[in-house]
């Protein structure tokens, strides 16, 4: 139950911050509830429930000497890598444009998660980015950023 100890503590701390933030928004009165009324109530309940989870985990931890182990860190780096890549994509999408950003994203994912050969990676990334642009921009009329290719009519 070590996981519950950590999550219980985290949510309890979060609920205190949320309650303080809600309090500053003005709670109002019972007759005329203010903007902070509901978030304050929800934060208090979250605090109570997370405290229960924390206590339950603490109790179980004491009874069973060997707590639930932290999950195997085997695949974590891959998940973190995908997340960082997505965040990077979001940050550079408007600057470099959809086609280039998508091409780079696909290249990175295909080369790192389960590494493919360079020709396979380049071909899939090139056609993948172009095809998705064609489907969404041309056929479905989405407004995707042109970025660096703006001058080429994209």
């Amino acid at each position: 139950m070590r996981l519950d100890l950590i999550s219980g503590f985290f949510w309890f701390s979060f609920s205190i911050l949320a309650a303080l933030g809600s309090y500053q928004l003005n709670l109002g009165s019972w007759q005329k509830p203010g903007s902070g009324f509901l978030p304050f109530g929800a934060a208090c309940l979250l605090g109570i429930f997370s405290f229960i989870i924390f206590l339950q985990a603490l109790w179980t931890e004491k009874r069973i000497a060997k707590g639930e182990a932290w999950p195997e860190p085997k695949g974590w780096p891959k998940a973190v890598l995908v997340l960082c890549t997505l965040l990077g994509y979001a940050l550079c999408l408007e600057r470099v444009g959809f086609i280039i950003a998508t091409f780079l994203l696909l290249c990175l994912l295909l080369k790192t998660i389960e590494p493919q050969t360079w020709p396979k990676t380049i071909i899939f990334s090139f056609f993948g980015s172009l095809l998705s642009y064609l489907i969404f921009q041309t056929f479905l009329k989405a407004q995707l950023p042109a970025g660096l290719l703006a001058g080429l009519g994209f």
Partner: protein
């Protein structure tokens, strides 16, 4: 008689060539979305909403609804052939469907899930057609206290039916309500927790949250496990179930239809809960419960029927009360609003074409799906044979474009990625995403109901128990909260863990 007249009117709309095309497109895309693991109907509908801006509201809603029930058909294919649920509501189908495929009975498993889906889907449309108009009349009597109590009941039901810890589910509901408060307070005009980000003034969008929590996090988990797809393709033959298969499944199909429909109606119920509940019921009533998990056809027929039956039921609170029963309905509610339609009990009077057109198109769509589904299985199998290493980047691109297209804003993309991380951690720490999403959706309505009720009653909470309907809803919620103390075990407690 009103229903028959309405249906005839609806068929006039649904059978227009343009609407038939939209219905066909919707159910086909829905099936594809169902087949592909990691891309759910909410994400697909969100992605396609901008494409409906230039068409009539009827055509738009016919297509978007088609994606929803089409996805329920498609989800079983992946569960049976690859042992990976294509859609969250088909998780439980993996248990017996994949075992049947391993025993060389993939054909009957796919066949019975298609027929069960058709029967459940069709019966639930009959239910929707019959129940919605009178319910809309009753809903006109709903005031803020009734709305508040109904939403509390919805959140309680979802927490009660969730597979894990009830306390954790309540925590997720509180977190959802809290995040639902982000944005401008509609009563006082005060910005709450926006931290100077203009995109947050309208609140946290449901679409990036759903895509992140269910789409991105699923991809992260699959990537972590180095997913190996083993498609049982050579043995897909004899799609029509034999007499024995029908005899073993018919009871499950009938029970699944009713259970799915009623769980679909409840806010917080929906297709996922319906499929798990149906599996639990079938295992309980079976003369051979030991066969469940080893290839029992009733374990495929029941859940697949139930998840389709839930789709029809889920439209009832949306059309009659303007309350979404699940995340997909919340996205559809957004689509209705974008098309300038006022949701709630007056929708059926003000825009009868939307209601009856959708109902009639669902009959048509279910027939299209039954005809399409079985012959198209080789096509879906080919798609499933594409290695996951090529499939997941495509799913990610769909989600990224979908989030960006909402407001052409990077903030939505960052939010989606952030909620992808949160969803991933939820799964690692055994927290359920469903109560969180529902609370996020219902939060603003719940707040309006609470604050308006307190203003009306001059600060007295007695208003929630003074009105009979509100009292009834509160009593049911209280019973569900306290029943675990009296009952030894909740019906669904630990279901997901055990299975």
């Amino acid at each position: 008689m009103e229903s028959i007249g309405g249906l005839i009117y609806g068929l006039g709309i649904a059978l227009k060539p343009i609407n038939l095309i939209y219905c066909f497109l919707g159910v086909t895309m829905g099936t594809l979305v169902g087949v592909l693991p990691g891309l759910g109907p909410s994400a697909a509908i969100s992605l396609l909403i901008p494409t409906t801006f230039h068409v009539s509201p009827e055509s738009a809603f016919i297509m978007l609804a088609g994606i929803y029930y089409g996805a329920m058909y498609g989800g079983s294919t992946t569960s049976i052939l690859v042992n990976i649920p294509g859609e969250a509501a088909s998780v439980v189908t993996c248990l017996d469907g994949y075992q049947m495929a391993r025993q060389g009975r993939a054909g009957p498993a796919l066949g019975i899930s298609a027929f069960g889906s058709f029967i459940g889907g069709t019966l639930s449309i009959v239910g929707l057609m019959v129940a919605a108009p009178p319910l809309a009349s009753i809903a006109l009597q709903f005031g803020p206290p009734e709305y508040f109590s109904l939403m509390i009941l919805g959140l309680t039901i979802l927490s009660y039916l969730s597979g894990g810890s009830m306390v954790k589910s309540f925590m997720m509901a509180c977190l959802g309500i809290l995040l639902g408060c982000v944005g401008m307070d509609t009563i006082n005009g005060v910005n709450r927790f926006t931290y100077g980000i203009p995109e947050l003034i309208d609140g946290i969008g449901i679409v990036p949250v759903v895509m992140g929590l269910f789409g991105i996090s699923e991809v992260l988990l699959n990537v972590e496990q180095s997913l190996k797809q083993e498609v049982f393709v050579k043995r897909v033959k004899n799609l029509l179930p034999n007499w024995r298969d029908w005899m073993d499944s018919i009871g499950a199909i009938i029970r699944g239809s009713f259970l799915g429909f009623f769980l679909g109606v409840l806010p917080g119920g929906g297709a996922i809960v319906a499929s798990f509940a149906s599996y639990a019921v079938e295992k309980k009533v079976s003369k051979h419960p030991e066969q469940f998990g080893k290839g029992a056809i009733a374990g495929v027929a029941g859940p697949e029927t139930a998840n389709n039956a839930a789709t029809g039921g889920a439209f009832i609170p949306l059309f009659t009360l303007g309350i979404p029963a699940n995340a997909v309905m919340a996205v559809l509610l957004g689509a209705l609003m974008i098309h300038g339609l006022r949701t709630g009990p007056l929708l059926m009077k003000e825009a009868p074409g939307i209601f009856w057109g959708t109902v009639a198109s669902m009959y048509v769509g279910n027939i299209i799906l039954l005809i399409l589904n079985l012959p198209l299985i080789p096509v879906w199998v080919k798609i499933l044979k594409v290695p996951y290493v090529f499939l997941f980047p495509a799913i990610l691109i769909f989600c990224l474009i979908g989030a960006y297209s909402l407001n052409n804003s990077i903030v939505e993309v960052v939010l989606m990625v952030l909620f992808g991380l949160i969803g991933y951690l939820f799964k690692k720490f055994h927290y359920e995403g469903a109560p969180f999403i529902m609370a996020l959706i219902l939060g603003p309505m719940l707040e309006d109901g609470l604050r308006q009720s307190l203003i009306l009653s001059n600060g007295s909470f007695g208003i929630f128990v003074a009105r009979p309907l509100s009292l009834g809803l509160i009593l049911i919620s209280a019973f569900l909260v306290f029943s675990p103390i009296f009952l030894r075990k909740r019906p669904t407690a630990g279901l997901k863990d055990n299975d």
